[in-house]
Amino acid sequence: MTVAGLPLKVDRTPREALEDAWHWARQRLFSSPGNVVVSALLLAILGWAAFSFARWMFTDADWGVVRANRRLLLVGRFPLGEEWRIWPAVYSIIVLLGWTWGAWGRISRTVAATLVLMGALVLPTLAGWSGLRVVAPALALAVLAYFLAHRLAESPRIRGKARVGSVVGWFMALPLALILLQVRGGVEPALWGGLYLNFVVASGAIIGALPLGIGLALARTSSFRALRVSATVYVEVMRGLPLPVMLTLAWLALRAFLPSWGGLDEVALVYRVTIAFALFTAAFIAEAVRGGLNSIPRGQREAASALGLKWWQLTAYVTMPQAVRNSLPALAGEFIGLFMTTTLIAVVGLTDMLQAARATTEQPAFFGRQKEVLLFVGMLFWVTAFALSRLSARLERALAGKGTRRV
């Protein structure tokens, strides 16, 4: 019996299975003398790495440092009793992840398995069994949202709405975090910390950077020379500057350049840093959107002007919607990059997750546990970035072949 034309037997005897495996290994690992050497070398290295990691993991590693400091790592010194400001944003992000994924396509088995595995590794350590009770409903909701959205997206009539809903959802959820930190007395910016600080800075920056970046992209493609040149200069200057320098500038010198009305030059450091991130990211968003604008065939503009559309009508109804849609994957990529680079706020002395992790090794009980806590932080970032990047690849695939790419 063969499956889909492949000469593979489904009901193989163990002997046959072994033969198949040997055959596969001959082809993919040991096809030539060179390959034999490479494979053997890599296998040796891999074995050695796996062995030393396992030995460290089971004999030396002590994850107590993460468990004892999980609050510090997640929210820093955020005041007790104010957590209600955090949960809605976290919940909506988790649920949105599920929904977006469902609406834009099926999650591949490898990705799902990786996420579940990583989640199983990270969550119990981080949340403890008590904290798991709070996170579990969100996860359950996310799975539910995934299946619901997936089901809805099967019907072509609703698919568009489900997808629009997901994008609108992201645009609503990101400001939510910032707004909740301000209402009803608010929480001092000096008390924001941990992973939540990374998240807040990243969302604040993307909210500021999107309109600015779109404006810059329009300016760069404008027929007005002055506009074009100044936008180009802005983008190139930002792309040429190291982010740490930008952040230090925001820290030490930005206040000298802010207008004094409304106490704007007295803005807290977190906001100044967020402004710096937004100004910086805008340049990269402008490039992404410009790419999207350039991918729109000339004929559309000509047709629009033949119809008598004014510039702003052309932009708002014809070019910009397509440009932004085409550049959605690139924009998602920018957001992932932004989220990871927010760890650089360490340069200005703010205590984000990474710095909180470094500070835990100060505690006498957990002295010398840098490896554990850094691995943990890296893994947490990794899971987030991995999930988001797969999602953006999914968007890319769903958008490919659609709209304007066929000229």
Binding site: R77, L80, R157, G160, K161, R163, V164, V167, V168, F171, M172, P175, L178, I179, Q182, V183, G186, E188, P189, A190, G204, I207, P211, W251, L252, A253, R255, A256, S260, G262, G263, L264, D265, E266, V267, A268, L269, Y271, Y317, M320, P321, Q322, V324, R325, V348, G349, T351, Q355, R358, A359, T361, E362, P364, F367, G368, Q370
Partner: protein
């Protein structure tokens, strides 16, 4: 958002687009308003009084009438904001329950007790060595009590005003006992680690610069990295204020050899008077901070402590104690003119203690003896001396 919809009648589409566009606009407006509103409340008044950061603009003239609002601001807010260290055992650190403790922190509690008669009407902001002055100037804090050395240029160029030192310190050098380093001269060729943004970094150059001792400086931006590096053997010597070194030595992890494996060299590289700092534009506030500290020193000298303060306030043994505690036992209370209730020191002593008690509670456990050091009372040969309380 709107650009993703492809379906629907031509009529409905325009309307739908408009609504979504409007919704998005409102959303962004909301975020903008929230940001601005918050930033405005964040800074408070007196925006024109602070010099721009990172500049050498001289401090405002001492008689500038502007900015004398810190006390009013604090009162309106309901608590004092104090910038402290969060990683220095003994002086400022975070307890496992998230609260702050330490010598510097207790002076923050004392300020709260003086203003609000409540030692907990205070919020501590942890600051790094290199961000502390900026935070003070940006009005993110009201007073900086973070093992900060009082120097001339910090007083002038940075536009700060320092209160009386709470602790007289000096820069020392700590080495591993097993390395057999006895004097500074033995450090020839050694790697000496320090924190950036501190006077330490400049002192070591002052000390070694003129001698034949060639050392290799290594400067870290955070204490925990320095400690990691020192424990790993990256540095031969660790230079910092002696009190800090003592604290580090005390808290030195047992699995790295414990405190006994370290020696602090007898040489003192510099004078480091640690004092609370306020912005230079507000004399009233500076006086208040100064006299709360002095009051605690005076209380120790007069034998007033948290155990006997309520008793002494009702039956003051002398005129001086009566003035210090603002007791009304003999007619009207002495008004210190600081804009505080006359009995503010009574709350400070009752809730926080006098200088000796604060020292005893925080510094003695670090193993830094007080007797014979500059931190003893002047009556015992030290430098702790409060001007007359009248």
């Amino acid at each position: 958002m709107w650009y993703l919809s492809h379906r629907g009648s031509a009529k409905g589409r325009w309307l739908a687009r408009f609504t979504r566009l409007a919704a998005a606009a409102i959303l962004y407006a909301l975020v903008g308003v929230a940001l601005v509103a918050c930033s405005a409340s964040d800074g408070g008044e007196g925006a024109d009084a602070t010099p721009p950061p990172g500049t050498t603009t001289p401090a405002p003239a001492p008689d500038a009438p502007t900015g004398a609002t810190t006390l009013a601001e604090v009162r309106a807010r309901g608590f004092v904001r104090v910038g402290v260290n969060d990683q220095l055992p003994g002086f400022g650190y975070i307890r496992p329950d998230g609260s702050f403790g330490g010598f510097d922190v207790d002076f923050g509690h004392a300020l709260a007790a003086a203003i609000f008669a409540d030692r907990d009407a205070v919020q501590f902001v942890s600051l790094s060595a290199s961000s502390r002055f900026e935070a003070l100037r940006a009005r993110e804090i009201d007073v900086l009590i973070r093992n900060t050395t009082w120097t001339l240029t910090r007083d002038t160029a940075l536009g700060l005003t320092f209160a009386v030192p709470t602790f007289y310190d000096g820069q020392g050098v700590m080495v591993r006992a097993e390395d057999g380093i006895q004097t500074l001269a033995d450090l020839d060729g050694a790697v000496v680690c320090a924190l950036s943004g501190t006077t330490t970094q400049l002192n070591q150059e002052d000390t070694f610069g003129g001698t034949s001792v060639r050392y290799q400086p290594l400067t870290f931006d955070r204490n925990e990295t320095l400690q990691e590096a020192f424990v790993a053997g990256r540095c031969d010597a660790w230079t910092a204020d002696r009190s800090q070194l003592a604290a580090r030595r005390e808290a030195y992890p047992a699995n790295a050899g414990g405190g006994d494996s370290l020696v602090i060299l007898p040489d003192t590289l510099s004078k480091e008077p640690l004092a609370p700092a306020t912005r230079g534009d507000d004399r009233q506030w500076a006086d208040l901070v100064n006299w709360v500290v002095l009051g605690m020193i005076a209380a120790e000298e007069l034998g007033v402590h948290s155990g006997n303060v309520s008793e002494l306030a009702t039956v003051p043994p002398s005129q001086e104690v009566s003035r210090l505690l603002g007791s009304t036992a003999e007619g009207s209370a002495f008004d210190a003119g600081l804009g505080l209730a006359p009995d503010f020191m009574r709350h400070v002593i009752a809730q926080v203690g006098n200088y000796g008690e604060v020292y005893e509670r925080n510094i003695t456990p670090l193993g830094i003896p007080r007797a014979g050091s500059p931190n003893a009372l002047w009556t015992e040969g030290g430098l702790m001396y409060a001007p007359p309380y009248r």
